[in-house]
C-alpha cells in the first residue's frame, strides 16, 4: 500500500531525487562539498599571496595544513614560513607586507592573544595584511571550542573585523578583504573571522570562483606607500613624539571609521561579479520587515537564528557582518521599527556585566533610550550549545524582560 510520501520506498526515491537535483545545481555552479577550512584555504590560493606565514593552533590547523599542501603541490606559488610562535607569525607577516608583498596568515584564540602587541603595530604601520581568525575561547580554563572572546578582545587594535556565517562567506570575504585592505584610501589589516569547528570542521556546498575572475576583481598588489628597496631607502616604523603620534592615531581612527563605505563598495562589486551578497556588506537582515522583535548576532550563530525566525513569525534577524567598523548607522536604520532588540553573543566584556556587542548596540540607540527594550544574552561560551529551540525560548522570555536586562544562557 502506497498512498503518501511517508512510504519508505517513496521517501528513498524522493531523497535520491533531491540529492540529484542538488548535484546538478552544484555541477552547474561549479560547486563542491568542502570542509570549511579547505574552503578558507582555497580562497587564499585564489588571492595569490606572495608570502604565507603559519603557526598551528586548534581549530585553525586544517587551514594551514591545506595551504602547506597546496604549496607543496605547486597549486599555490608562495614563500611559506613555518614560524616558531604566533608572535613571530604576525611579525613575519608585518615584515613581508612592509617589504611590499601580499601576505596571509591564520590563527585562533591564544595565538591571536600572543599576537596582540604586533596587531597594533600592523595597523599603525598601515599594512594591508589579511588574517583568517578561527574563533575559539581563551584560557583559563583551557578550552578549544568556539566563542568570540579572542577577536572581540582585539577589537581596539585598528584591524577591521568581518564575521562570516558560512564557509561560502569565508571564501567570498577573504577575497573581498584583500581588495578592501589594499585600497589606497584604506590600507588597514583585516581579520576574516569564522567560528571554530562550526565552520572550520563541517562540510558545506561551496562555490569557488574562477581564478581568472578573481584575478580581474583583485589585481596584483603594487603598494606605493611601503617598500624596502635599497634604490629608494625608506624608514618604516619611526619614533614619534606626542604631536605627530596623536596625529597618526587620529588618521588611523578616521581610516577605520571611514572604511565602511569601502566594505560596502567592494561587497557590491563582488555581488555584481560573482552573484553572491550578504546584506549590504556591513549588516545582513533576514525577514526584518515590520517585525517588532529583532535578534542581533554574528557568525554561524546567525544560521541558528535564521531557523528560529523561519519557525516563529514575530522575530527577525539582524546579523552584524562588520564588527569593526561598527555599523551604527545601518543598525539604526534596520531597527527603526523594532521595539525589542535581543543581542545574542558569544563573549563577555568582563567588568561590564554584558557582552561587548551589548554596550555598543545600547550606545547606538542611546538617543532613543527607553523607547526600545534592549536585552543581552551571553551564550555559547567555550562551545556551549545554542539550539533553535533556545533561540525561540529566548524570544519568548524576552517578552517578560525589561529594558537593560542581561542574562546568560546556562543549560
Amino acid at each position: 500500500m502506497c498512498r503518501s510520501m511517508s512510504c519508505k520506498m517513496h521517501k528513498k526515491r524522493n531523497r535520491t531525487k533531491i540529492i540529484l537535483k542538488i548535484r546538478d545545481k552544484m555541477v552547474k555552479k561549479n560547486m563542491q562539498i568542502l570542509e570549511g577550512s579547505r574552503a578558507a584555504a582555497e580562497a587564499v590560493v585564489l588571492c595569490k599571496p606572495a608570502l604565507t606565514v603559519a603557526y598551528p593552533i586548534t581549530p585553525q590547523t586544517h587551514i594551514v595544513e591545506d595551504i602547506a599542501k597546496f604549496i607543496a603541490d605547486g597549486k599555490l606559488t608562495a614563500k611559506h614560513i613555518e614560524v616558531e610562535s604566533e608572535f613571530s607569525a604576525m611579525s613575519a607577516a608585518v615584515g613581508g607586507s612592509a617589504a611590499g608583498s601580499r601576505v596571509f596568515t591564520a590563527t585562533s584564540s591564544q595565538g591571536l592573544a600572543l599576537m596582540n602587541e604586533v596587531l597594533f603595530a600592523a595597523s599603525g604601520m598601515r599594512l594591508p595584511i589579511v588574517m583568517q581568525v578561527v574563533n575559539r575561547a581563551l584560557s583559563a580554563p583551557i578550552n578549544i571550542w568556539n566563542d568570540w572572546q579572542d577577536s572581540i578582545s582585539a577589537r581596539d587594535s585598528g584591524w577591521l573585523q568581518l564575521y562570516c556565517e558560512t564557509a561560502q562567506e569565508v571564501v567570498d570575504t577573504t577575497i573581498q578583504a584583500y581588495k578592501i585592505a589594499e585600497d589606497n584610501n584604506i590600507l588597514l589589516p583585516i581579520m576574516v573571522c569564522m567560528d571554530g569547528f562550526f565552520i572550520t570542521h563541517t562540510l558545506e556546498p561551496v562555490e569557488l570562483p574562477e581564478q581568472k575572475n578573481v584575478d580581474k576583481f583583485l589585481p596584483k598588489y603594487k603598494p606605493t606607500h611601503v617598500f624596502l628597496d635599497p634604490e629608494k631607502p625608506m624608514t618604516q616604523g619611526p619614533f614619534a613624539f606626542p604631536k605627530p603620534y596623536m596625529e597618526m592615531r587620529k588618521q588611523l581612527s578616521d581610516a577605520v571609521d571611514n572604511s565602511d563605505k569601502m566594505i560596502k563598495k567592494v561587497h557590491d562589486e563582488y555581488a555584481k561579479t560573482f552573484g553572491r551578497k550578504y546584506g549590504n556588506g556591513l549588516i545582513d537582515e533576514y525577514k526584518n520587515k515590520d517585525k517588532k522583535t529583532a535578534i542581533i548576532t554574528m557568525g554561524s550563530l546567525a544560521g541558528t537564528v535564521r531557523e528560529a525566525v523561519d519557525a516563529k513569525d514575530d522575530i527577525s534577524l539582524v546579523r552584524i557582518r562588520s564588527y569593526r567598523p561598527f555599523p551604527k548607522k545601518e543598525l539604526r536604520k534596520a531597527l527603526k521599527n523594532a521595539d525589542t532588540v535581543i543581542i545574542l553573543e558569544k563573549n563577555i566584556a568582563l567588568g561590564t556585566g554584558a557582552g561587548a556587542l551589548y554596550d555598543e548596540v545600547r550606545s547606538t540607540f542611546y538617543d532613543e533610550d527607553g523607547k526600545k527594550k534592549i536585552l543581552g544574552v551571553v551564550c555559547g561560551i567555550g562551545g556551549s550549545e545554542v539550539t533553535v529551540e533556545d533561540v525561540k525560548d529566548i524570544a519568548e522570555i524576552s517578552k517578560k524582560k525589561k529594558n537593560g536586562d542581561i542574562w546568560w544562557l546556562m543549560k
Partner: protein, 288 residues
Amino acid sequence: MKKDDLIAPGHRTCAGCGPAIATRMMLRATGKNVVLCHATGCMEVTTTQYPTTAWKVPWIHVLFENANSVASGVREALDAQGKEDVHVIAFGGDGGMADIGLRAMSGLFERGHNILVVIYDNEAYMNTGIQRSGSTPWQAATTTTPAGKVSKGKEQWKKDMIAIAVAHHVPYAATASIAFPFDLEKKIKKALSIKGPKFIQIHTPCPVGWYYSSEKTVEVAKLAVDSKMWALYEVENGVKKLTYKPKETPVADYMKLQKRFRHLSEEDIKEYQKRVDENFDKMFDGRQ
C-alpha cells in the same frame, strides 16, 4: 665620519656611544644593498624621530622582540620579488635580541633564512636606564642589580650567545669589537658572503651605562678584548678560531675605568681574574 656613510650625522645618540660606532662600521662593510630590520632600543629611538631619519638604507622597526621574525618576513618577501641579492640584517641590542627576542632569533636560525643577525652588545638595557640583561657581565652594577652592603651587583655570568647560535648549526658566528674595526669589517663581509643564517655579536661600550668618560669608549672596548673579558673569535661550520690574541692585560685595568665595577674589592677582582682566565681556557681549550 665619511661623507658616504650610510648612517647620517645629527642623530641623538650620546657622546661616545659604542653602538653608534658599531652601526657605522657595520654599514661601511655591508654597502647600500641592504635592508636593516631593527629592534627597539638605543640606536632605534635616537635615529628616527619622526619626520627625520638618519638611515640612508631601507630600514624597518616594528617592536622590541621581533626584529628577527620581521627580518624573516622581509627576506622571504624580497626573495619572492626576485631580490635575492639584497642583504637582510636583523639588528638590535642585547636586551631586544638575546633576552626578549631570543625565541624569534632561535626560530630564524633554525629555519635557515639567508639573514645576518647582529647584536650590538652594551651589556644592559641602556635605553630604559641601565637595567640588567642576560648579557650584563657578572658583578656589574646596574640600576636593577645595584651594589650594596650585601650585594656585589649582578649574580650571574654573561649569557653565551655565540654558543646558542652555534647550537643551531649556523654556518658562521663571530664576535667583534668596535676597537678592532678591520676585524669587524672583515667578519661582516665574510658573513654576508655565506648563504644562510649568520650571527655577529659586537661589543659596544656605553659611557652612560658603564660610567666612564665618553672619550674613552674605544679604549674601554680595547681593554675588554685584551683582558679577555671579551674574546674576538669566529665559529665557521662549527670550527672555533680566535681572530685576535689578547694581550692578557689584568681585568683590573679594564674595570678601574668603569664605575659599574668600582664596588669590587681587590680580593673580588682577584677572584674575577681567576674566573675570566678559566672561562677563556675552557672556551679555547687552553690554546691562545
